[in-house]
Symmetry: C2
Subunit: 284 residues, 2 copies
Amino acid sequence: MTDASAAPGRIAYLGPPGTFTEQAAVLFAGDNARSEFVPYSSITASAEAVAHSEADVAVVPFENSLAGAVGETHDLIIHQLDLYIRDELVIPIEHCLIVAPGADISDIQVIYSHPQALGQCQRYLNRRFPDARTEATLSTAQAVARAVELGDHVAAIAPRRAAQLHEAQIIEFGIEDDHRNATRFVVLDHEDHEPTGDDRSTILFSTANRPGALLRVLQHFADADINLTRIESRPARERLGTYLFLIDCDGHRTDPALANALEHMEPDLERLRIIGSYPKAPRP
Amino acid sequence: MTDASAAPGRIAYLGPPGTFTEQAAVLFAGDNARSEFVPYSSITASAEAVAHSEADVAVVPFENSLAGAVGETHDLIIHQLDLYIRDELVIPIEHCLIVAPGADISDIQVIYSHPQALGQCQRYLNRRFPDARTEATLSTAQAVARAVELGDHVAAIAPRRAAQLHEAQIIEFGIEDDHRNATRFVVLDHEDHEPTGDDRSTILFSTANRPGALLRVLQHFADADINLTRIESRPARERLGTYLFLIDCDGHRTDPALANALEHMEPDLERLRIIGSYPKAPRP
């Protein structure tokens, strides 16, 4: 059990600097001056850094209010690494229109960004730049670098921190079509969090291959009056049509109600793994 | 209700030619000589072509046995377009190592592909080319074009059809790490399929915001002895933590058992939409 007040030193995250994941890592570190932020080239690489003890924790995106589960994070938690969730953070996703400093913005012809960001600003782009062409890049940071390099008549869509880091100019804030866009990040560690009195738990299970097994598992949660806040099915990787379930519920795994419910549902389960109990993050 | 034997003329799909989606479109068309395959630059654009009557149907990826739900397809079915699923197809995903014709393959230094394909062949790459660098491209087709352009000491990972279309050379077949990798595609149309006696239905619902509502909905399926083959939660796009559910179950929506069960669960539902009933595809 880790002491929440002793925030870890080396924090791995999906780089480059300027990503929303870096924002979440900074929020997690809080006022801890000895934190060091280490960018990795993929979500998986940042989590593997923890597994191999190159980093103390990894901050990774888990689900988005518009796009749903982040597949890569779910797959590595479920299938690849034996890590726990020890914290969660919720970050509002804000996109900005960014250009090179002093660029001529009278006639924007090309707009660069990651396909996901382009998709999240599509209505804005159709309204404001009906004649501009969009070009996909591999990251929003790369899009800003391209805009800075090309200069006039070119723009990028990226978070405001990417503009700061590339010394580019933000010409419009909050251009995402849906302002309810938020991403939930989780902090991966070798241990989860001690009880705080207002916790959430993430639990992975597969049901015994009998009709109604999932139903009986959910019934155990309902009987114990435990609120489920999320249920996600993921491929079991056996064959198409077999699934694992990842559930978020209220409470800490050491709470008697949750501990008892888990014990009672065991006969209906084939596999059970508690991914972690951690304090609930405030939601925007 | 569409007659299955009268396969539609214009079939929209995610291009460029050589993608797995094109393979699924060709399988769907079968022997229908008057079929025309129209590539689009995104899943959404191919489905919109049907909504705007530019195409008769769209073939789109729906879920993968390793990666799970295809978010873009789920989002457009749930939030954007009023289309039905009228058919499903299951395609095994096979990756190949591809080079320019006559290229020197003695010392492969760079391997191009889409990040998803690179991820699906990672163990193969580590074993066979431990010293090669991998470079991400926006599509597997682009990776093959790059390999053909650069020639010696360069390779791409892509489906075999991409090699044929670019007149490139396949030097190894079936290099994916997990041979159980298959993708389920669905065919979107303005109507679903008439009953065949061996059907599946896809149903979208949200539960009334009362404790245990999801549990009661699943109980209605169990009481009617209807087998659920998949349950997927998707963001409701209201705020983080609110979800819609997409369920696949055995049977056609006109079967009395399913029609009755749906009628009985209505008081527990806030929203109900039948996305379609269609013949079950053989699974590999």
